[in-house]
C-alpha cells in the first residue's frame, strides 16, 4: 500500500507537469521570440536607458549578465551590512562581513546556500528587498542565458544572440512575477504565513512560553521554488510547517520547482523548429529523474544503518506529515534541479541514501536542472554526445544543423570541467591546508568519522553546482567556508555562463548544414539512450573515487 501511494504521488506530479509542458513551454517560446514590448515595459526600458530593439553580440550580452550580477552582489552585501538601520529588522544587528559576502554570492549565483540561520540573522527587509529580489532576477538571468544558447542553434549566420535586458525583464515580469502571485496565494491557503508580525510570545497549553515566528514567508517561498533558488525563510527550510504545512503543499512545491525546467525543452524545440528535439531532451531528463527518485526512495524505505534500524525506520530528520516518500520526492526534485530546498534533513539520510542528493548535483543538475541552467547544461552534454557518436563512426559531428568543430568542443569540454575542479579542489584543500584542516575538523564538521568528510564534500558539491542544499550539520559560518564556498558559487555560476554564451555566439555565426543520410538523428530513442549514458559517464564517474571515500564507505561499514 505504501509503495502504491508513493507511485501515485509521483504519477500525480508527472501528470501535472505533462499538462504544463506544452502551454508553459510555448508561452516561454513566444515570450523570448516576440518583438513586441508591452507599453509599461517600454517605459521601464527608457527608465534604465536601454533600447529594447537593439540586438547584442555575445560579448555584449555577457557584459550585461556580469554587470547586472556584480551590482546585485554589491546590493545584497550592502543591505546586509546596513541591516541595523533598516526597518522591520526585528532588532537584528548588521550581518558580519564574511557571512554577508557568502550570502550575497549565494543568492546572486542562484545557489541560496545558507551559512546562517534566518530566524537569528536576517530581518524582513533584507529578506524581501535583498534575497527575494535575487530569487527572481538570478532565475531570470539563468533562463536568459539558456534562451541565448537556443538562439545560437536557431539562427544562421547571425552576429547577435538577443538582448540581455529584454530577456531579463520579460523573464522577471511576464513569467516569474505572475506565476509567483498565484503560487503565493495557493501556499497561503495551505497555511504558509504572510505577515509582518515578528515573533509572538504565547503561553502554551502546558503553561510554557513559546515564540511563534512570522514574516512575509509565502511571497518569498514561492519564488524560492519557482526560480529553483532554495533559500529558506526559516532555518528548517521547506520542512518548517510555516513554509510547507501539509503533504499537498509539498507536492505543489515539487510542481513549482519542476514546472519551468521541465517545460524549457518545449521552448527549445519550438525555437529550433522541431518539437521532437524538445521531446528527446525531455526524455533524457525524465529518465534520469525517475531512476534517481526510485533509488533514493528504495534506500530510505529500506532504512539501512545502525540508527535507522534501531529506531525502526529512517525517520530522523523527517516530518511525520511527509514520511519517507514525500521526503525522498522533495529531496530528489530539489537536488536534480538547482533548488537545494529541503523538506527533510539530508545529513540524517541513510549512508547510501545520502549519496543520492550528492550524485544528483554531481550530474551537473541537468535532470531537469535549474531554471535555464538545466537546459544549457543538458545542451552542452548533447554536444559532447554527438561528438562521441561522431568519433565512433568517423564523421564530423553536427547538432541541429550546426557543425560541432574544435571551438565548440573546447568550450563544451571546459564547461564540464569547471564544477568537478571546484568540488574536488575545494574539498581537498579543506583537509590539506594546515590550520584550516584543524578548523574544519574541530569547528565545522558535526558528525564524526567518514560522515564528516561527506559533509564537506556535500558542501562543495552543492556550492559549485549552485544547488544550496547541505548536509546541514556542517557549521559553514567560518572564514574558510564563507570564503571558499562563496568563491566556488560565483565561479561555478559564471564561468559556465561565459562558456555557454561564447558557444551561443559561435553557433549563431554558423550557417546550417543540411541533414544527410549520414547525419545522426538527435530526436530518436537511440540518441536519448546515448545522452543518458554520456551524462552519467562524463559526470558521475569523475566523482566515483571521492564517493567511495565518503558515503559508499559509510554504507558498506
Amino acid at each position: 500500500m505504501e509503495g502504491l501511494f508513493a507511485v501515485m504521488q509521483a504519477a500525480t506530479l508527472a501528470l501535472i507537469l505533462a499538462l504544463l509542458y506544452r502551454p508553459l513551454g510555448d508561452y516561454m517560446a513566444r515570450l523570448y521570440t516576440s518583438d513586441r514590448d508591452w507599453k509599461f515595459e517600454r517605459g521601464l526600458y527608457r527608465l534604465i536607458g536601454v533600447d529594447p530593439r537593439s540586438e547584442q553580440s555575445w560579448p555584449a550580452y555577457l557584459r550585461g549578465v556580469l554587470a547586472f550580477s556584480v551590482i546585485g552582489l554589491l546590493f545584497v552585501y550592502v543591505l546586509q551590512r546596513a541591516q541595523a538601520v533598516l526597518p522591520y529588522s526585528l532588532g537584528l544587528p548588521a550581518v558580519p562581513e564574511g557571512l554577508s559576502f557568502n550570502t550575497a554570492a549565494s543568492f546572486v549565483a542562484n545557489t541560496n546556500w545558507q551559512s546562517y540561520s534566518p530566524e537569528l540573522t536576517m530581518g524582513y527587509t533584507v529578506q524581501l528587498a535583498g534575497l527575494a529580489v535575487q530569487n527572481f532576477v538570478s532565475a531570470a538571468v539563468g533562463i536568459a542565458v539558456a534562451v541565448a544558447l537556443v538562439r545560437g542553434f536557431a539562427r544562421r549566420g547571425s552576429g547577435t544572440i538577443g538582448n540581455f535586458w529584454v530577456d531579463l525583464f520579460r523573464g522577471a515580469f511576464r513569467l516569474l512575477l505572475p506565476l509567483s502571485v498565484i503560487g503565493a496565494i495557493v501556499l497561503i491557503i495551505g497555511g504558509v504565513v504572510q505577515n509582518f508580525n515578528g515573533f509572538t510570545e504565547v503561553t502554551t497549553l502546558a503553561g510554557n512560553t513559546q515564540n511563534l515566528p512570522g514574516g512575509p514567508t509565502a511571497s518569498q517561498e514561492v519564488i524560492k521554488l519557482l526560480g529553483t533558488n532554495g533559500g529558506g525563510f526559516f532555518n528548517a527550510n521547506s520542512a518548517h510547517p510555516f513554509e510547507n504545512p501539509t503533504a499537498w503543499t509539498s507536492l505543489f512545491q515539487n510542481v513549482l520547482m519542476l514546472a519551468i525546467p521541465f517545460a524549457l525543452p518545449r521552448t527549445f524545440g519550438k525555437m529550433v523548429g522541431s518539437n521532437k528535439q524538445g521531446y528527446a531532451i525531455l526524455a533524457v531528463m525524465a529518465t534520469l529523474y525517475v531512476i534517481s527518485l526510485t533509488a533514493l526512495s528504495a534506500l530510505e524505505a529500506g532504512g539501512n544503518g545502525t540508527a535507522p534500524e534501531l529506531a525502526g525506520g529512517a525517520l530522523e530528520g523527517k516530518e511525520a506529515r511527509f514520511g519517507i516518500f514525500a521526503s525522498t520526492l522533495f529531496g530528489t526534485t530539489s537536488t536534480l534541479t538547482s533548488t537545494g530546498a529541503v523538506n527533510s534533513m539530508h545529513d540524517s539520510y541513510t549512508a547510501v541514501g545520502g549519496m543520492m542528493p550528492m550524485l544528483n548535483m554531481m550530474l551537473g543538475e541537468v535532470a531537469p536542472g535549474g531554471v535555464g541552467s538545466g537546459l544549457y547544461g543538458m545542451l552542452v552534454l548533447a554536444i559532447i554526445a554527438v561528438f562521441i557518436a561522431g568519433l565512433l563512426v568517423g564523421r564530423t559531428p553536427e547538432y541541429l544543423g550546426k557543425k560541432i568543430g574544435p571551438r565548440e568542443i573546447k568550450l563544451a569540454s571546459l564547461y564540464i570541467l569547471v564544477t568537478p575542479t571546484l568540488v574536488l579542489v575545494g574539498t581537498a584543500l579543506s583537509f590539506a591546508i594546515p590550520g584550516i584542516r584543524e578548523d574544519v575538523e574541530s569547528v565545522s564538521i558535526w558528525n564524526p568519522g567518514i560522515h564528516g568528510m561527506s559533509e564537506v564534500l556535500y558542501a562543495f558539491t552543492s556550492a559549485s553546482n549552485n544547488n544550496g542544499s547541505a548536509f546541514a550539520g556542517l557549521t559553514a559560518n567560518t572564514p574558510w567556508f564563507n570564503t571558499a564556498l562563496g568563491v566556488a558559487m560565483l565561479l561555478g555560476r559564471f564561468i559556465p555562463i561565459v562558456l555557454v554564451l561564447a558557444l551561443a555566439g559561435s553557433l549563431a555565426a554558423q550557417d546550417k548544414v543540411p541533414a544527410t543520410a549520414g547525419t545522426l538523428p538527435t530526436h530518436r530513442p537511440q540518441f536519448v539512450g546515448l545522452l543518458v549514458g554520456v551524462t552519467v559517464i562524463v559526470t558521475a564517474l569523475t566523482y566515483f573515487p571521492v564517493l567511495t571515500l565518503g558515503p559508499l564507505a559509510e554504507g558498506l561499514n
Binding site: L44, F136, V193, G473
Partner: protein, 202 residues
Amino acid sequence: MSTTRTAVRTHWVAIRAMLLFTLVLGVAYTIVVTGIGQVILPAQANGSLERSGDEVVGSALIGQSFADADGNPLPEWFQPRPSAAGDGYDGGASSGSNWGPENADLIAAIEERKAQVAEFNGVDEADVPADAVTASASGLDPHISPEYALLQVARVADERGLPESEVRELVESKIQARDLGYLGEPTVNVLQLNLALAELEG
C-alpha cells in the same frame, strides 16, 4: 577608452535595473501578496493560531512541548516527537539534529528515548514506533503517527481518571488521513488532540 565608457554605461544600466527590480519585485510584490493574504486568508496568513477560550495557546502548525520546566514529559498530555529546535520546540530556532545514521550520539539518544517511551507508557520497547524516538526535520513537527498517539491512550486516560475507551475514541476522531487519500502520511496533531482532551473533562 571606449571599453571603459561601455563598461560604465552597462553598470549604470544595471544599477537602475536593480533599483527598479527592488521596488517592484521586493517591495510592491511583497506588499500586494501580504494584502491579499491579510484580507482574504487572515487565519492562515497569521499562523493558524489555536485558542483555548480566548487565549492563544499556539499554532496548529507548530509543535509545542508538553513537559515541565525541567524538560520532564507531563503524563497527563499526549507527547510530541523529540525535537532538536533549541531546547525543544523553540519557535525561534527551527532545526533537525543533523545526526548521521552511524553517529554514536544519535544511536545513544534513540536507545534512551526508546527505553523512556516504553517505561513512560508501560509498553514493550518493541512496540515503540519510529517517530516517537526520532527528531523531526524542523524540530517543530506538530504531528505524531496514529500509532504513537494510540500508544499513549492508556497512560493519559489513567492519569486523568478518564475511561480508556473515551480517550481512544477521541484519538481516533483526531486521526488526519493522507491528503487526497494518498499524499504523505496519516497523522495526529498533538496540540489539537490535547485541546480536545482538555475540553473532554471541562
